[in-house]
């Protein structure tokens, strides 16, 4: 074993191992913190989406209930007076449609026959029980319902309320109000700077909204069995959401890069009142800030580790070699000269040696003085 080489190697190796381990654990800790912040952000986005969908359903139902409790409307529906019902409600629908995103408003008579569509007054008399089971249920048990449904105009947020007879006895029919998803997504974009995309399954769209399905089903809009119907920034969203991402039926969070930034993406499955998934709502938010902070912390931790290793290695090398091995090497050379009968060189005892080396240096000086005296 060569102390001059092996001792520093062992010490520096130990330093490297300890600092690398500490850096690794500290990095895990920071990554965990960043992950926790992003997890919270994902949960917040999910809460924003679900609470706004819930609020929109409440709004739809509230409007349906207002209509259902209006005596003139009750009387017109009970009398099956379509013209009067249209005259009573058309101005209201025009304002609601233009300003508040009311996409559809429809009156039905039991069991689930369309009586009047305010958004399409010339189309009526068709049976809705197959593709609007919520309407059939309300007409059966006279209990209000709300939910997300694919209707003739596409996916919408519905509230359905039973309409009692004006006399208070018996039952006249029901009314539903459908709010447009697009208006909701645009409002979310404006309020929260989220970018969103609404995807719906192509098969139910073809079945219940054939016109919409035909216009929307382009190759650019197709993602597996889903079709994009609405997006606040399609160029971005199509880079972030692929076929495979949409296959899962559960809420999903993931992080992906697009256009030079890192985005957090939330995929929220949309289910009809029967609990069957019919689409996905995708929301993306720029996570560049948290990712950059995480990247910075990794770089700084590595840099600090390098500094720590180099500085500690310096301390080890300078102390071991400067105080011990280098003076020993020098003394060793002089002892060797002395032992070999050569001309011994004096040692500068004024040097600030450490005590152990000083003792050795003084011993050498004594030997050298004696040798010089005996063999001048």
């Amino acid at each position: 074993m060569k102390f001059r080489r092996d001792a520093p190697c062992i010490l520096i190796g130990s330093v490297v191992l300890i600092i690398a381990a500490l850096s690794f654990f500290s990095n895990r800790l920071f990554s965990g913190l960043t992950g926790a912040v992003e997890e919270k952000q994902f949960n917040l986005i999910e809460t924003i989406l679900t609470s706004n969908l819930e609020a929109a359903q409440d709004k739809a139902l509230a409007r349906a209930e207002i209509l259902a409790r209006t005596p003139e409307i009750q009387a017109s529906l009970a009398a099956r007076d379509r013209a009067k019902l249209l005259a009573d409600c058309a101005p209201m629908f025009a304002v609601q449609h233009e300003k508040y995103g009311m996409d559809q408003c429809q009156f039905h008579i039991p069991p689930a026959i369309s009586f009047l569509r305010l958004h399409s007054p010339n189309k009526f008399g068709d049976d809705l029980s197959v593709f609007r089971p919520m309407v059939a249920s309300v007409n059966q048990d006279h209990i209000t319902r709300k939910g997300l449904v694919i209707a003739a105009t596409g996916p919408a947020i519905f509230g359905v309320a039973p309409v009692p007879n004006p006399s208070g006895e018996g039952y006249a029919g029901s009314v539903d109000v459908g709010l447009d998803f697009g208006a909701l997504l645009d409002a979310l974009k404006a309020s929260y700077q989220l970018d969103l995309a609404l995807f719906a399954e192509e098969d139910p769209l073809k079945k219940f909204s054939p016109d919409l399905a035909a216009s929307a089903a382009t190759e650019d809009n197709r993602r597996g069995k889903l079709i994009k119907l609405h997006s606040t920034q399609w160029d971005l969203m199509k880079s972030l959401v692929g076929d495979a991402d949409l296959k899962t039926g559960e809420t999903r969070f993931y992080i992906r890069k697009a256009f030079g930034s890192t985005y957090g993406v939330v995929l929220l499955p949309l289910r009809n009142p029967a609990g069957e998934p019919f689409g996905v709502l995708a929301a993306a938010q720029d996570f560049s800030a948290s990712r950059a902070a995480s990247g910075r912390s990794i770089v700084l931790q590595i840099l600090l580790a390098i500094f720590a290793i180099v500085l500690l290695a310096g301390a080890i090398l300078v102390v071991l070699r400067g105080y011990i091995t280098r003076p020993l090497q020098m003394l060793n050379e002089r002892f060797a000269t002395l032992a070999g009968g050569g001309d011994p060189t004096p040692v500068e005892t004024s040097e600030p040696w450490c005590d152990e080396v000083r003792d050795l240096a003084e011993t050498y000086e004594k030997l050298r003085t004696r040798a010089t005296r005996e063999h001048p």
Binding site: G182, G260, Y323
Partner: protein
């Protein structure tokens, strides 16, 4: 007075009054309130061209189409009078028509000077829907964010501000249709930059007495294309780090004693200092934004000055005055010097790499 004359006089007065009342023209320049307050002006902005981006003074020259849409029920007319589905006015006629009706006073509030030209297109639909398209070519000021230079993203923003009405009376809004309209022409090319997406966000500004005025910011995101253009900044910055390291490395140690005069080595460091100062001036004059804030370049300059100072300290304290040798012995001094020779470059270039990586993160 004779009652008959009095009655005739009153009747004449009443008739005159009613006639005058009937002839009073409707003031169409007031806010269209039929839809309630605030009046929603739907807004979209399309970048037709970006002629130049002057990074040094944070401006860009662009041609943009600003589309404003609102509804004024007073302008509704019979569909039969407009077979095309709308009535259209262009340029001077559009301006004349706009002078007769209410229109939102939306200012491009970050424009620099007057626009080079403006074209107008006004369409009025039978239901009172108004669509006003303005093509504006001008210079716009856009804040430069150099923190992540040279891996930076910038926003070429156009600020659309309503000046004469507060947000409770007139608001700027956007829907899917406006977001679809807002984009950038595929032929746009800004040398040295890659185009991103156009984003619209609300950012109200303060009005009178705590009110706020509506403002939308339509911004085209661009990211710097890394290329040979960055060489003239980063190569000298990295090379200048070698000067103080060389000054320390040039010395020689023999049996714990330094062999080269400290004076000669300190000259190298002083020369390096002037080189870094000159480089700093050059970069600051070419890229003023880099000199103003905290970024990779300013940090690398800081590192350069720090290493120069450290080298000077080593030369003066270690080589000239042998401080370590006096207090710890010449062999400790020798070992410290041998350590500095390899440790200093490792630490300096690790720090420089970290600065660049932090900018890239």
């Amino acid at each position: 007075m004779n009652p008959r004359i009095l009655i005739a006089f009153l009747a004449l007065f009443l008739l005159t009054f009613l006639k005058a009342g009937a002839e009073v023209p409707r003031d169409m320049t007031t806010l269209p309130l039929s839809g309630g307050l605030p009046v929603q002006v739907r807004t979209g902005l399309y970048f037709i061209d970006v002629e130049s981006y002057q990074e040094h003074d944070g401006t860009f020259a662009a041609t943009v189409d600003l589309r404003l849409k609102w509804k004024d029920g007073r302008l509704a007319y019979d569909l039969k009078t407009a077979p095309s589905g709308f009535v259209e006015f262009r340029d001077d006629k559009a301006l004349a028509k706009l002078a007769e009706q209410w229109a939102p006073l939306v200012e491009l509030s970050n424009s620099v000077g007057d626009p080079v030209f403006q074209n107008q297109l006004l369409r009025v639909y039978p239901d009172g829907q108004v669509e006003w398209l303005r093509r504006v070519k001008g210079q716009f000021r856009s804040e430069v964010a150099p923190e992540n230079f040279p891996f930076d993203h910038q926003q070429l923003a156009v600020h659309l501000t309503v000046r004469n009405e507060n947000e409770r009376r007139v608001t700027l809004d956007f829907r899917q249709d406006d977001l679809d309209f807002s984009g950038v022409e595929s032929t746009v090319n800004i040398p040295g930059w890659k185009l991103g997406l156009v984003n619209i966000s609300r950012s109200p500004i303060a009005g009178f007495y705590g009110e706020s005025n509506a403002r939308l910011i339509a911004a085209l995101g661009i990211s710097r294309a890394l290329g040979p253009g960055l060489g003239p900044i980063f190569i000298p910055l990295m090379a200048s780090l070698l000067i103080p390291l060389m000054a320390v490395y040039m010395n020689k140690v023999q049996d714990g004693e330094f062999q080269i005069e400290a004076f000669e080595l300190s000259n190298i460091v002083i020369g390096g200092l002037f080189a870094v100062i000159a480089l700093n001036f050059t970069v600051n004059s070419d890229y003023p934004a880099l000199g103003a804030g905290d970024n990779a370049v300013s940090r690398l300059f800081g590192l350069n000055y720090l290493v120069l100072a450290a080298a000077l300290a080593v030369i003066v304290l270690l080589f000239r005055f042998n401080i370590v040798g006096k207090y710890c012995g010449k062999y400790v001094q020798e070992q410290l010097y041998l350590y500095i020779v390899w440790a200093a470059p490792v630490l300096v270039f690790a720090t420089a790499a970290a600065i660049v990586l932090i900018a890239a993160s």
